[in-house]
Amino acid sequence: MKKVNERQNRKLTAGDLPHVRIAEADFPAPFRSGLEYSSPARGTWNIVHTGMLIPEAHEIFVCAAGCLRGVVLTAAEMGAQDRFSTVAVRENNLLDGDMEDLVIEGVTDILNKLPEIPPAVLVYTSCVHHFTGTDLDLIYRTLRERFPETDFTDCYMNPIMRKSGLTPDQLMRSRLYMLLHERAKRPDAVAIIGNDLPTDEDSDLMKALRGAGLKVHEITSCRTYDEYQEMAESSVYISYYPDAAPGGDMLAERLGGTHFALKFSFDYDEIDETFEELAKVLGIKPRSIEETASLRKQCEEEIEKTKELIGSTPVSIDYTYCPRPFGLAKLLLDHGFRVERVYADSIPGGDRTAFEALKKEHPDMLIYPTVHAGMRFANTVNSERAADASGGTGTPAGRVADASGGADTLAKRAAGRPQTVLAIGQKAAYFDDTDRFVNIVEGGGMIGYEAVTRTMELIRDAYTNSKEMKELVQVKGLGCGICNRQ
């Protein structure tokens, strides 16, 4: 039993947890913004992990100690401390107006102390530079003059800008390719860009590219900086993680070539449409009607097999699992699964169609936020409800309400779910306090119909095999070990 802070003055009940029926939810922000909570589920990548995807690159963060702390320990936890350094901004630097000198001399000092000058350096500046009007152009110009053999790029730890222009995540994914030098294009070379995790070899995308005999570049498989540079020979850049799209546009504009934003989807028709468009861009043969029918049949079989196994087990999905949590919810609900909750603070733009359909077809599905202040108590409340309903033994009991019930039943559902929940995503697992969960972030490299079949496999595995949820979800940057490849 999880220990509740005894000094909490008013104990919350499950009904107090913030949530909204999808029928009443607004697009794209179903919850009012306010104080924000941070759950212990930490598997998504941050800007340190993503930057480390560039082989042999060295990261230098220039920030206040409070901001450095998280990134330093991210690097240390991933075993990449030798590729990471910092320059601390102090109060006197704000007053003295010497920010340019601090960055230039600090970075110079670090590079001169390293055993070897790295081929690429990512310099991350922060909110303080933005607010003090630091001359970043001067900084990078000077550094390039001092270290002509090294490629520098500007990166940002500037979360205060998250509601203005590109998000920090979009910006970081775009920076990954700013170091590429222009070179001759190969018509048979393509690059998959913007992924933190390698694209599944079994995915529709890889099969299409390999099947057409194309040379496929992906940053996750580059082992050296030279290999990374070879990505610039690509004629087509393919992104399928939505936050990678702006970087793809920038890359095509800077180096030439074409950027194609493939849609990540669980909707069969949309999958077909986006892959047909890709085939046109690449000039390759599209999937035949027979192939498509076969893939759909395979998906339906996998779904049926999964439904038979898990039956009416309550299912929760969170936004960290993939870019289309509402699309996944719709796929599952349309096939009779008992999806009760989606944990998401906003509805992704690409998910709007699924969201609108869910409002009409499955209006009782609930949306819970992940950062709302009240969610601080979700894990405790849900685990206590489950224990109470099972007579305090912690053994999962039967459901308290039928999912098809009316308003009273819905109120009970909102008030707690005594049956063991199957969670798809780490945050859902944490909030629902369940050890039956799919431990994948950011789509896990799946795309196309393969995203459907692999998700079904993962659900069955999660249902059958419990996991050490508390330990697993607290690990930062799930899968970031690939950054240390050599």
Binding site: L35, P40, C67, V87, I110
Partner: protein, 429 residues
């Protein structure tokens, strides 16, 4: 000074120190920041995050709110959350952005308190100092608001001087950033009980806000990290409570500390009984002359080699010494024990805020990598967090002492309980 760290970590910052110090007290702490501080704190600085539902949040300030000075958004969001969650108090802690925009912590805290009726603190941290600075500020705030003005030791709980009672003590400066969650907080309390003291409150692990509010009843404060000095000052100024500085590490030092504290308490009680003013530990130690808080003497330093002597095998603070890198009070206690029990000169390289008069002449304040490296020349042993290892000279023996405030959760499982097991360090010599 380049303020660079080529190969080592950085300490938890002041804003996190506020959160850590207040974590168990039933309040609601809000980091006034855009994003990032919250996940950093909850992942790397707060081992209690998963198992204890404390209310620590971030304001999520945006660029436009910062530029336009939209403090109402913050005040409204806090009042809204407080009305739902009913915290015992509210604390706002600052980060670089409010530091740059000149956010008025005191005024906004006053506004929120007026609006909610809940005590509200504004702690002007900047994210540019270490956790010690923030934790000290926070604990001092709690002392001022909840403990000062209540009955003190001189009156006793029943209004009579407690001459016959066991001496009572508060432990000040306990946070997991320095003492992890491996029981060191309890070990300190148990050591005090075994030495005949009664523990009134522990600031702030394992005590409630109500227990902290009774801190004035104590005869003495034991400051176990520099984070406790702010509260010690408030309690000294409010109640004249004397204080000792040190962590009971080792086989000999704890006994010396206990004896010294008891003697001083006895002197204070005698002065009170004689009708004198409630004197401080230091005043009593100096024959009753009034002294300021800053003039406090350090109760734990060994001073074995401070007069320039060499060890039996010729070691000095320049050659063959042991260097202890870390928080001031723990490092000083450890260094003292090494000198007392192993006869090896041990100097402190204090990487966090610590009043210089707490440290000895041989010790150094070393906030940056560039400050530390030259001080390690000639060291035979270096005792420090494992993330310092890359800058330790090859010839020096490295003794790992993981410290949450530096390496976070990475080595949590092997952090020793130094109070119960001083051999974890001493056995290396």
């Amino acid at each position: 000074m380049k303020q660079t760290a080529t190969r080592i970590s950085t300490y938890s910052a002041d804003v996190m120190g506020v959160c850590s110090a207040l974590f168990e007290l039933g309040g609601m702490t809000v980091m006034h920041d855009a994003s990032g501080c919250n996940s950093t704190y909850t992942t790397h600085d707060e081992p209690r995050w998963y198992d204890m539902d404390s209310m620590v949040y971030i304001s999520g300030i945006s660029e436009m709110e910062a530029i336009m000075g939209d403090d109402e958004k913050l005040a409204g969001d806090i009042a809204d959350a407080a009305s739902q969650l009913d915290p015992a108090f509210i604390a706002i802690a600052g980060t670089p952005v409010p530091a740059m925009t000149g956010f008025d912590f005191e005024a906004v805290a006053g506004l929120i308190e007026q609006r909610t009726g809940i005590p509200c603190f504004g702690f002007p941290t900047t994210g540019m100092n270490t956790y010690i600075h923030g934790a000290s500020m926070a604990l001092a705030g709690i002392a001022e608001r909840f403990a000062a003005g209540r009955p003190g030791a001189a009156a006793g709980r029943d209004g009579h001087a407690p001459q016959a009672a066991r001496p009572r003590v508060n432990i000040l400066g306990l946070t997991p950033l320095d003492f992890s969650v491996n029981g060191q907080d309890r070990s300190i309390a148990e050591w005090l009980e075994s030495e005949g003291f009664t523990v009134v409150s522990k600031w702030a692990m394992g005590s409630s806000l109500e227990e902290l509010s009774r801190a004035g009843e104590a005869d003495v404060n034991l400051v176990v990290s520099a984070a406790g000095l702010g509260a010690a000052r408030v309690l000294y100024e409010s109640f004249g409570t004397p204080y000792a500085v040190g962590v009971p590490v080792g086989n000999e030092l704890p006994g010396l500390m206990a004896d010294n504290i008891k003697i001083k308490i006895k002197e204070c009680r005698e002065r009170r009984s004689a009708g004198g003013q409630a004197g401080s530990f230091e005043e009593a130690g100096r024959g009753g002359q009034a002294g300021s808080f800053e003039e406090a003497e350090i109760s734990v330093q060994s001073g074995v080699f401070c007069d320039g002597r060499q060890s039996a095998d010729g070691r000095t603070y320049e050659k063959g010494f042991a260097a202890v890198i870390g928080e001031g009070v723990t490092s000083l206690s450890l260094a003292s024990t090494i000198e007392l029990e192993r006869g090896i000169p041990a100097k402190v390289l204090c990487a966090t805020e610590c009043p210089e008069d707490i440290l000895r002449e041989c010790d150094r304040i070393t906030p940056d990598e560039d400050d530390i490296i030259p001080e390690l020349e000639g060291a035979a042993f270096v005792i420090a967090d494992p993330l310092y290892r890359p800058i330790v000279p090859q010839g020096a023996g490295f003794i790992a002492l993981p410290h949450e405030a530096f390496s976070g959760r990475i080595y949590r499982d092997v952090i020793p309980d130094l109070i119960r097991d001083p051999g974890a360090i001493l056995d290396h010599f």
